[in-house]
Symmetry: C2
């Protein structure tokens, strides 16, 4: 009954005769994913749900329910728990997600929030990161880089966008960009057994990325921020050329759609500069490294 | 599409036209639910999955898949993660549960494991803790108390037992005993809008409870351990008298089934001593208290 296991943004389960469910879990910790000493705790709660919703969006599925587990620090744990919940609620309501249950714990260590979201496959097939084919255009929503300045907490998961796009256009593959555009793109290419070539001039660079790059001693260009910062939570899709062109012409979303390159036969990650020269591009982003 | 939300052992979701899914999450932390400094980490991994499976058993549902999120301490995180997974795997295989995905994180704090298990409703109706009626017998599997001596790590979740009992007998309500027999029983009675009367002499007291009580300076009787220790992960059921008697006579499980009292009209928790005197019984157990 397991159709797709570890490795994609969410797992696909077959339940009963016909239904397919999509399930994903994300665990966020104080000090890594946010700093409670610096932000309103409601933003931490909101982010914890939003990150999992973004994984559901990456599968072009419709989220239906969430279960939430927390380990609250002993001091003021109850109030913190309530604030986290208050932060989640508007987002849950916005996307019609029932907070179906949870597990509340207290301990002598920083806050941990784990959110599991369950969804239904909306179309005939869920969107997987392994579906890109050579010749497909690389299409992204929104812009990239500098998420640390605020977007990483306040982004809107691309649930509605993903459902609309998958209904109107052929999408061969997709994922959400959580660890860095170039790193996640290289993972999508690898999962699909193809390569990916990025047109550097086409990458939509966010204002926040430019702001970071302009800071003294930053040491990275705005484009480098866009390619490697991560936590953009935008959609990254493999779209057949005809549909990609139509998508770009129609711009059916409130957020921009941009072609940033194409998937190619030759495996690896490539960059095309403004002179049309193709070179390898080193994937940059957040690696979940363990000792 | 949410049929039963927070408050029961698991939430019930309607997915698609006909299927119903049951979902539960538990989060375990080093120092509270186990001590990694004292045990093989595989036992911690096993427990994390077993606790959630016990919640699925409490609903008389069939577990199908699990997603696992961990926050691993920075030092030796990779090896610890592997050991946790190795501890889960045999239990997952035993119950046909696919480990469908996960989220692995690293941080400068103790281990956290969050396990979400999804199951299918096996019979016509899932078992809820709100279903007890006056006159129903209180039936339990196994024995109680002293779980801290080892059972809290190595217990077998009563998945098979729950499925078998719900197929062969009428069960009005059920839950698993995680926080203490008397406390969980009082919760079940409250959820059902009834009272519960325990025959103290009938409570199956474990060898471990006797062992603890015999220790110098323990200060609790074996019965008190059985009523309040918690983490027994046995089934607690409301069973119509005819079915309860048949169940006891047939003893269809490898583990014992015992009638420990009955649900009554008058709300509250009651005890019946060996002289037949009825008095109030103060619920004892583990309260998830927050400051």
């Amino acid at each position: 009954m397991l159709r797709l296991g570890p490795g994609d943004d969410a797992a696909i389960l077959r339940l009963g005769q016909r239904s397919e469910a999509v399930v994903t879990v994300d665990l966020l910790t104080d000090g890594v994913d946010f700093r409670l000493s610096e932000i309103d705790p409601r933003r931490a709660g909101r982010k914890a749900l939003a990150v999992s919703l973004s994984d559901i969006a990456a599968m072009a599925a419709r989220p239906t329910a969430a279960v939430v587990a927390v380990a609250l620090p002993e001091q003021n744990g109850r109030e913190l728990g309530e604030q986290l919940f208050l932060g989640m609620l508007p987002l849950a309501e916005q996307f019609g997600v029932a907070i179906a249950g949870g597990d509340t714990n207290s301990w002598a260590a920083p806050l941990v929030i784990s959110v599991t979201v369950i969804g239904e496959v909306a179309g005939e097939e869920p969107l997987c990161r392994s579906g890109a084919r050579p010749g497909d255009k690389i299409v992204v929503t929104g812009d990239f880089g500098g998420s640390i300045l605020g977007k990483h907490l306040d982004f809107t998961p691309r649930v509605d966008e993903s459902l609309l796009l998958s209904q109107r256009y052929r999408l061969h593959g997709g994922m959400d960009v959580s660890d860095g555009l170039s790193l996640d793109l290289s993972r999508m290419a690898t999962a699909s057994g193809v390569g990916a070539c990025v047109e550097l001039d086409a990458v939509p660079v966010s204002r926040a990325a430019r702001e970071l790059a302009a800071r003294a001693n930053d040491g990275s260009s705005a484009l480098e921020h866009a390619l490697g910062d991560g936590e953009d939570f935008e959609l990254l899709m493999a779209v057949p050329p005809d549909d990609a062109q139509r998508m770009i012409a129609e711009q059916p979303l409130d957020v921009s759609l941009t072609i940033v390159g194409e998937f190619v036969d030759e495996q690896g990650l490539w960059q095309l500069d403004s002179q049309g020269n193709r070179q390898t591009l080193a994937p940059r982003g957040y690696e979940h490294r363990l000792d």
